[in-house]
Amino acid sequence: MIVTSRPALETGNFQLTGERRELADKIKLRYPEDRVASAIIPLLDLAQRENDGWLSKEAIDFVAQETGSASIRVYEVASFYTMFNLKPVGKHFIQVCRTTPCWLRGSDELTNKVKSKLGIEIGETTEDGEFTLIEVECLGACCNAPMVQINDDYFEDLTPEHLDKLLDDLKAGHDVSIGSQSGRIGSAPEGGPQTLLETKG
């Protein structure tokens, strides 16, 4: 649909920088010229990373300008996907998985731990801007339930105690180990391999 009347875009000072800028140009080249709107989702992701984890109006208008779309079309996409945040979030964005396997394995305790430790409710950000807590549906790590995702990293096989320390470490800026917190490798059985033992060595 060819539309020429659009509200003026107000991108303000928003710009992608460095590698993200190069990546955006590369992504746009994947699509034919009249189909650049296909790049809306990857560009929104880049814009969100550029903008401290959330999409401001300027960031949305920026993507609209890059893809030759109307602002409202980009906003529709951004508001549809839960992975795009339309409000500012903390430096560490905690997503607690609450779908059945994680829930059965105690995701509620993890949520409560975060709530009581940080003094925030679901959807809120701590006053110091360090943490935001939300609950999400299945993140696909059911073998290692319960789990949370913080920014891009998965933390699996969690207990409230693990999480407690994890939050302290993150706040202090210490290095943390990602993946399973119970010591197993990936989704391997706890306590080492259980089958195909004779092929060992």
């Binding site: 649909m1 060819i2 539309v3 020429t4 009347s5 659009r6 409202i72 549809f80």
Partner: protein, 681 residues
């Protein structure tokens, strides 16, 4: 042609139709919410389910292509049950506040719930509530009532060409939103008509009436020269709202915002008594005194010192009566072109010859000094409709405005038009290669001193590029005044050696203004001004005698639209106070002046009109008109064309008196200018 069976009857359908369209051919009624004839198919309301033989489940007929040999049932028990189910789900989050809903009585959801739904609810949970959105001064939103059919989103994007509405969020939280912006389109009022529920309603009309209380009068719009077919809804003598009537060849089923929303102007600033200026002040007088004053003045003045101007919204009858009166007095300086556009002469030279529907067959359009979006929004919508089909190029000479489709504004003045004719412009080859090229000339190109020469040039372009053929006429004038074509048809123009409207200023002793409010009244400071009209606007302020007339909804009149199509407007209510239908005022004057007009009632007047102008008899028809070379060849200046409409929302006395239009001007046109606070001086 392929055939299918609908409820046992065999129906022939055209390849490419949907099941829903084929079922309608077969006379079956299919309920629907999201499907709209003129919009793209969304298929999201699921109300149009029908049973297709051998299909495992009901199909959404609006989105399902019809196939040869299909057997469709639209009334089986399973379909009735499916519809009830769909309706129940649609109503889950609908507030059912029909008694306080503006749409009550003319609501698709209400009607279809009655016809196809359950008679009670089984839903006992909480309903969701949605915050209302701001969509500008014309559209009221109660978003909780929205059923997410997305008709408004599709209308705004496809027909209006403004991408400002969208469906945001997901799942249970979906909402229609414009991100708190006023919908900046001249067609935004149609969003209210396409909305099948009471989510989008008319803001100015809110809570003023119920549909069954209104008297509905079919009529014709006069806000531009398109002649949109309208329905005037009135209660008593008050016009409450205006809605579109379907006319495929003119306005389809849309009308422009000014047509729809300027109605409150009909209630304000009205002239309801005759006035005569005594010692510099206008004083209310009786009709006898007012008419006697006019008669004395006209009798005492020699004919060559009298002039008459017909305004933009005058009906053909009153103009014809005034012309008869002026002829009887020997007055030759009469004109219906207030702004002085150089149109006139043979009929073929001043019509929109291609016709509005004809635009759909064009493949190249050259716009000259015109902004169709503001001068005739529905012509613009038709061009956009054609444009979206693809394979059409639009070029423009004039200020580059946003017309909601791509326009190559390659020039600014008549010399660029000369270049097109000479072949030195790149657009010459576009016109040369086109099958059905069009040229649309607007007032912007015709009001200059070289207007006639520009017109002649446009005629040359039309002839050179094959726009004038037996099967195609691509030469078009885009008029702005509803009265213009009728005025030109009956020759309401100055004859040789007499004055045009532009030349009258300062050159006459008496000037008769028939609702002419666009004249520069400074030029008549020393003339005796007789103003006959319905609003206290520019003309009335400078008048020495005011004869109160009727606005377009208050009289039976004939209007000829820009295509040359005569249409009848009907009286929806009486004019206020002592105001009278315009032709009767002129008839009364003629009687006192001893001028024999030859008619005593409207029927006789129309007979005389038709005898003088035969095309007036062809109501709602396009009379084939021979090509006539327009204008007069001459030198053209290189001065850039200027557009004549500077504010779409205020172009005539009615829209200038309208509060709604004033609000629209503030929101859409005078952006950033200081706004009146109500407490200023």
């Amino acid at each position: 042609m392929p055939k299918l069976t609908v409820d046992g009857t065999e129906v022939e359908f055209e390849q490419g139709m949907t099941v829903l369209q084929a079922c309608e051919l077969g006379g079956a009624e299919i309920p629907r919410f999201c499907y709209h004839d003129r919009l793209s198919v969304a298929g999201n309301c699921r109300m149009c389910l029908v049973e297709l033989e051998k299909a495992p489940k009901p199909i959404a007929s609006c989105a399902f292509p019809a196939g040869d040999g299909m057997v469709i049932k639209t009334n089986s028990d399973s379909i009735k049950k499916a519809r009830k189910g769909v309706m129940e789900f649609l109503l889950i989050n609908h507030p059912l506040d029909c008694p306080i809903c503006e749409q009550g009585g003319e609501c698709d959801l209400q009607d279809q719930a009655m016809a196809f739904g359950f008679d009670k609810t089984r839903y006992e949970e909480n309903k969701r509530a949605v915050p209302d959105k701001y969509m500008g001064p014309l559209i009221n939103t109660i978003m909780t009532r929205c059923i997410q059919c997305t008709r408004c989103v599709r209308f705004a994007t496809e027909i209006a060409g403004v991408e400002e509405l969208g469906l945001v969020n997901r799942g249970e939280s979906v909402e229609i939103s414009s991100i708190e912006k006023a919908i900046n389109s001249e067609l935004s009022g149609n969003l209210i008509d396409v909305c099948p529920v009471g989510a989008l309603t008319s803001k100015p009309y809110a809570f003023s009436s119920r549909p069954w209380e209104l008297r509905k009068t079919p009529s014709i719009d006069v806000m531009d020269a398109v002649g949109s077919n309208i329905r005037v809804d009135s209660r008593g003598r008050e016009v409450l709202r205006i809605l579109p009537r379907l006319h495929e060849e003119i306005n389809e089923e849309w009308i422009a915002d000014k047509t729809r929303y300027a109605v409150d102007g009909l209630r304000r600033q009205r002239l309801d008594k005759p006035y005569v200026r005594v010692d510099g002040k206008l004083q209310a007088v009786s009709w006898d005194v007012a008419l006697q004053t006019v008669v004395d003045k006209l009798k005492a003045t020699s004919a060559d010192r009298i002039g008459a101007v017909a305004g933009d919204t005058s009906d053909a009858e009153s103009m014809f009566a005034l012309k008869g009166l002026m002829n009887g007095l020997g007055v030759k300086s009469i004109d219906c072109r207030q702004e002085g556009a150089a149109v006139g002469g043979e009929r073929g030279s001043y019509l929109f010859n291609t016709t509005i529907e004809g635009i759909e067959s064009a493949d190249a359009i050259l716009l000259v000094g015109t902004d169709p979006r503001w001068e005739a929004p529905l012509v613009n919508a038709r061009i956009r409709k054609r444009f979206l089909e693809g394979g059409m190029t639009v070029g423009g000479i004039g200020p580059s405005v946003d017309l909601t489709f791509q326009v190559d504004w390659f020039g600014t003045s008549a010399s660029d038009l000369q270049a097109v004719l000479d072949g030195s412009s790149h657009f010459s080859s576009v016109l040369e290669n086109a099958q059905n090229p069009m040229i649309i000339v607007g007032n912007g190109a015709l009001i200059g001193d070289d207007g006639e020469a520009v017109l002649a040039l446009a005629g040359d372009v039309a002839e050179k590029f094959g726009m004038i053929r037996d099967d195609w006429n691509g030469f078009n004038i885009l008029h702005q005044a509803a009265s213009r074509v009728a005025g030109l048809d009956m020759g309401f123009v100055p004859s040789e050696n007499s004055l045009s409207a532009k030349q009258m200023a300062g050159a006459l002793d008496v000037v008769y203004l028939l609702s002419a409010d666009e004249m520069d009244m400074k030029g008549f400071e020393n003339s005796f001004v007789i103003y006959q009209g319905h609003h206290g606007d520019a003309g009335a302020h400078g008048a020495d005698v005011i004869l109160p007339g009727a606005a377009y909804t208050e009289k039976n009149g004939t209007y000829v639209n820009l295509e040359g199509r005569a249409q009848l407007a009907n009286m929806a209510g009486f004019p206020p106070g002592d105001a009278r239908e315009d032709w009767t005022i002129i008839r009364a004057l003629a009687g006192q002046l001893g001028v024999e007009l030859g008619f005593d009632n409207l029927v006789e007047l129309r007979q005389a009109l038709v005898a003088a102008v035969p095309t007036m008899a062809a109501i709602d028809q396009i009379v084939p008109t021979a090509w006539a070379k327009p204008g007069k060849a001459g030198a053209v200046s290189g001065q850039a064309f200027d557009l004549t409409v500077t504010n779409y929302y205020m172009t005539d006395p009615i829209s200038r008196a309208s509060e709604t239009m004033a609000e629209c001007s503030d929101v859409f046109v005078n952006i950033g200018e200081p706004q009146a606070t109500g407490t200023e001086g």
